[in-house]
Amino acid sequence: MAIRDRLVEFVLPASALILALLAWEFIVWYAAIPTYVLPAPSLILKTLYVDWDTLFASLLVTLHITFEALFVAIMGGVALAMLFAQSRIIERAFFPFAVVMQVTPIISIAPLLLVYLSTSTAVLVCAFLVAFFPILSNTALGLASADHNLIDLFDLYRASRWQQLLWLRVPSALPYFLGGLRIGGGLALIGAIVAEIAAGSAGQGAGLAYRIVESGFRLNIPRMFAALLLISVAGILIFLLFTALSHVLLRRWHDSARGREA
């Protein structure tokens, strides 16, 4: 029965989560663990409520940078992927740059960027760099993966290279792009956090990761956990957003979004 299946799908993980939280609460109380070592969930939630103004403002800063970086990564990644699809010369020339950008760990680049740029710009650039490559790579793969029979069909009717790109390659690439977007969305957040932590260690910044570093210095561990909780929530929301987008765009026609018939 569908209702029963849905119940199982939600109730089981929710119950497991609640049990885990209760166990955590109990262990902290039973073993009298100090709050600066491991705060109980109840304390974390209380801190979240008390420090809401500060933490929420920081959440907005982090999210703002994440989405701004993601936007630029999408524009840049898609445009470059289309350019690569149209010209093999450009692809061969610039792809190595993109690969180098991808494989160099962002944590090693962040301090350098913080020297050259203002804090918020550096954070933006870091978030952009990690989100850019998956989007570029997946979109380029999608554009190259158009059905060869369909390419023949377009050749048959003497389609121009632009018609082929816009009417065939771009729609073919959509599932791949959305896959890259889901990855890039999460990575943009990570990139922003990494840069913020690097900045925060130098005493600069205003986002959630900065709050974590700041709380660490001040030994305000409950607030650190509260900030961590908000970051997780942000990550989950981003993931759900892009999964829903994927589902809406693909559900009528792509195998990945369709349920199997019983």
């Binding site: 369909l150 023949d152 069909l153 050749d155 009717y157 003497r158 026609w253 369709r258």
Partner: protein, 272 residues
């Protein structure tokens, strides 16, 4: 490797003196085709496609049947030899072995595609697309997505798309090979009816002796390595043909004849 020619000639519709049935619509003269990997698909091929006929190209794998279709439709160019069109290059419809539909578009959009390439607006094309869908029995499915259709229905959409511009020449590369027997027989009859209604010339690639004898007015049997013609078998019986045709002596005799030629092409001892 993309083999299409880089020059973009306008497609010249059938013009000038009308061809009478039996005139060559297109002639392949001493056409050879060798691929980049040194495989010789065709060697010195001579073949006429006659106006109004249903021509089947029959042969084992690798004898160049699909290559001939690709040469006629200019998806690829010959290594040597000429392809001559008697009266300018007409509009050509092509049906592949897979339905080759755009999965992200509705049935309507898929059949609309050739018209879109010719600059016709969606509104103006509506009637032509609907007519094409009606002619293959899918009039009610304009808003469905390919994923929602059966194999036979998808192939019908592919045929509707190939016919929407009313091409004088229709090329079909084993279009029914992936379908079940029942659907295949049904589509055989529907295809012949469409051919007669539109007055089109059809070049049909197949592996099946029975299909080629039932559908065609002429069968060309080919052999591989290198690809060449080894036999030509006329089927003088009018189209369309009823199911009863399959039960007659004429059909049986032609099947024997064709089968023998095919075995000869494959190097087997002829079964007399």
């Amino acid at each position: 490797m993309n083999e299409t020619s880089t020059t973009r000639e306008a497609v010249v519709p059938l013009s000038g003196a009308a061809l009478t049935p039996g005139d060559a619509l297109v002639s392949l003269r001493s056409v050879s085709k060798t691929f980049a990997n040194s495989v010789t698909a065709l060697a010195g091929l001579n073949l006429d496609v006659r106006e109004g006929e249903f021509l089947s190209l029959l042969g084992p794998s690798g004898c160049g049947k699909s290559t001939i279709l690709r040469l006629i439709s200019r998806l690829t160019n010959p290594t040597s030899g000429q392809i001559e069109w008697r009266s300018g290059r007409p509009e050509i419809g092509f049906v592949f072995q897979e339905p080759t539909l755009m999965p992200w578009a509705t049935v309507f959009s898929n059949v609309f595609l050739p018209l879109r390439f010719r600059g016709v607006s969606r509104a103006k094309a509506k009637k032509k697309v609907q007519d094409a869908l009606d002619s293959v029995g899918l009039g009610k499915f304009a808003n469905a997505y390919p994923r929602e259709l059966s194999g036979g229905m998808k192939m019908r959409v592919s045929i509707a798309r190939a016919l929407v511009l009313r091409p004088p020449l229709l090329l079909m590369d084993e279009p029914f090979a992936a379908l079940d027997e029942i659907t295949r027989l049904k589509l055989n009859d529907e295809l012949v009816q469409l051919k007669c209604a539109l007055g089109a010339t059809i070049v049909f690639v197949t592996h099946s002796v029975y299909e080629s004898v039932y559908l065609s007015t002429r069968i060309v049997v080919m052999a591989p390595r290198p690809g060449r013609v080894v036999a030509e078998i006329p089927i003088e019986a009018p189209l369309p043909r009823a199911e009863e045709f399959r039960l007659g002596a004429f059909y049986a005799q032609k099947c024997r004849e064709t089968s023998a030629a095919l075995h000869g092409a494959m190097g087997d001892k002829a079964i007399s």
